[in-house]
């Protein structure tokens, strides 16, 4: 938890739990054959955070998110949303609970024969909101998702990104506490994905809506999530803040996922060559990423630092970077220098001793 505070990633508002999943199992039966999609999943999503569940297809993440509003009925286990035990609800009670949980999908799922306006107004009608009030609310919602001019267009006339914006407006119509995103950007190109992610981030920030997002795209997690769980074979195998996941992935799956997005691997030819000094990989995180750390190092210790490779990226809004440097000088000085870097909050790893 201390990593979160340290790197300025926002804590849950007051830290109260909004979604709590306990020992969730889901078994699908195909005749004789049984497939266990969820094998005892435990998860807590705090109020106000953006929580990501990442995993390859078939890992069970889709079953997991669909259990949260009971589109999928869990075989056993418990799900609480805002203190309410969802798994015990039926009929009208379940429908009322669902009105407090918005959801968007990979394929948008809009009414194709109805206008954008109608698509967004429907949940308001379902909730019993009067025509006039509903119409005003739709205007506000379309403004929020930046589609003011498209109220009378049909979904068929919109791009994928615009369709997802309509779906987001629709999901937000009834002021839900939670927004579930089921692979919401997987059908979109990278640029559109980015604009949808910015919108989700903005919604989270301005409206305080808690977002649970499942995805197989690690860049989605990096871009907007506060915390993340890695799923594999129906179980959560790793969980933590996004910064933790990217800087210190523990499982092989998490390492493979993060590597692909961060591009933080050190080029092979650097390692294969022999160097005069010590080859050190320095990982920067948060505010330190902008400190003139190497200059300070050289000033304080009789050590030369030669940059061989570098890369800077952002994890949510926290800068994150790596540098591979060759340190030359007296061995003791180099050791002291590395110690100094560690004291400054860098993570160091000696790749090659001189």
């Amino acid at each position: 938890m201390c990593t979160r505070r340290k790197y300025g990633v926002r804590d849950g508002l007051g830290g109260s739990t909004l979604i709590e999943i306990k020992d969730l199992h889901k078994v699908y039966a195909f005749g004789e054959k049984q497939i266990e999609a969820l094998k005892g999943v435990n998860l807590r999503v705090e109020k106000g955070e953006i929580y990501g569940v990442v995993g390859s297809s078939g890992a069970g993440k889709s079953s997991l998110i669909r259990c949260v509003n009971l589109l999928e009925k869990p075989t056993s286990g418990q799900i609480r949303v805002g203190g309410l035990d969802i798994t015990s609800l039926k009929g009208a009670e379940l429908r009322d609970a669902r009105k407090r949980i918005g959801m968007i999908f990979q394929h948008f799922n809009l009414l194709s024969n109805k206008t954008v306006f109608h698509n967004v107004v429907v949940p308001l009608y379902l909730a019993g909101v009067g025509k006039k009030e509903a119409a005003q609310r739709v205007v506000d919602l379309l403004h929020l998702v930046n589609l003011d001019a498209k109220a009378n267009a049909y979904p068929g006339q919109l791009s994928g990104g615009q369709k997802q914006r309509v779906a987001i407006a629709r999901a937000l119509a009834t002021n839900p506490e939670v927004l579930l995103c089921d692979e919401a950007t997987s059908a979109l190109d990278p640029q559109t994905t980015d604009s949808i992610l910015q919108l989700l981030k903005e919604i989270n920030r301005t409206l305080g809506i808690t977002i649970l997002i499942i995805t197989h795209e690690m860049n989605v997690v990096r871009e907007i999530c506060d915390r993340v769980a890695v799923m594999e074979d129906g179980q959560i195998i790793e969980e933590g803040t996004v910064v933790e996941l990217f800087t210190m992935p523990r499982t092989e799956t998490a390492k493979a996922f993060t590597k692909a997005v961060m591009g933080d691997s050190v080029p092979d030819d650097l390692l294969n060559r022999s160097h005069a000094g010590q080859l050190v990989k320095i990982t920067f995180l948060g505010p330190h990423a902008s400190d003139p750390i190497l200059s300070t190092l050289s000033k304080r210790f009789p050590v030369y630092a030669n940059v061989l490779h570098g890369h800077i990226a952002k994890i949510k809004d926290v800068p994150f970077g790596i540098l591979v440097v060759e340190l030359t000088g007296e061995k003791d000085n180099i050791l002291a220098g590395i110690e100094f870097l560690n004291q400054q909050g860098m993570k160091t790893e000696v790749l090659q001793h001189g």
């Binding site: 669902r98 959801m103 809009l110 024969n113 979904p155 629709r170």
Partner: protein, 220 residues
């Protein structure tokens, strides 16, 4: 000669009116019967919003039985039902009852196939919004399949025009009856040709109208 054409004209007009009456009343009642049948067939399917294996199977079987009876036999077989409903077993009014028994289940199947085309994802989105089964029928299933439903009703209307020709056998009158009685049985070929020509125009007109309406309402 003039007299002959005048007589033919008035006969045609009367037959056309009879056909129009039979078909229009039958199609309205059949649609009112067929629409709920089709909706129930779809929503009781496995995994749909009101899954019910037994209702689905029973209703499906009943529709299949009705649909497998040739119309000419159906007409005779349900004479007691016709008598109970309209009080008579002959005439245009009496023909409407077997026509509904014929077209109702047919429309049921057409509606079923139209509603099956509705994207499951949209239904799911509405479930997630907290919509009730009735709201899903009214807000999703029907609006999303309107163009397809209109085409289905068009097909059923054309089918009814064909079936109504046979209703002449129980004194239902209409264009088919005219063609058979004068054209076929009395060898007045010109009557038969003209009647058939009127039927062709009628069917073409209805189909064109249906297509036009469907494409106007389709936005997907």
């Amino acid at each position: 000669m003039d007299n002959h054409w005048a007589e033919l004209g008035s006969m045609l007009l009367q037959s056309l009116t009879e056909t129009a009456t039979m078909v229009s009343i039958s199609i309205v009642i059949s649609a009112l019967v067929g629409l709920p049948l089709g909706i129930i067939l779809v929503i009781t399917r496995e995994g749909h919003i009101a899954e019910n294996k037994w209702v689905h199977r029973l209703l499906g079987a009943l529709i299949n039985v009705l649909r497998s009876i040739p119309f000419i036999i159906l007409m005779v077989a349900i004479v007691p039902v016709t008598k109970a409903i309209v009080g008579t077993t002959i005439g245009t009014k009496a023909a409407i009852v077997p026509l509904v028994f014929y077209a109702g289940p047919y429309i049921g199947r057409l509606v079923e196939s139209s509603l099956m085309e509705v994207d499951k994802g949209v239904i799911e989105a509405f479930l997630a919004m907290g919509a009730s089964p009735l709201q899903i029928i009214w807000r999703v299933l029907l609006p999303e399949s309107i163009p397809s439903l209109i085409l289905g009703i068009t097909i059923a209307t054309v089918g009814l025009i064909g079936a109504s020709a046979m209703a002449g056998a129980i004194g239902g009158g209409g264009l088919g009856d005219l063609a058979i009685r004068y054209g076929y049985q009395q060898f007045e070929t010109d009557v038969m040709v003209i009647t058939v020509a009127v039927l062709v125009v009628l069917v073409q007109g209805i189909q064109t109208l249906g297509n036009l309406l469907a494409s106007r309402l389709r936005h997907g």
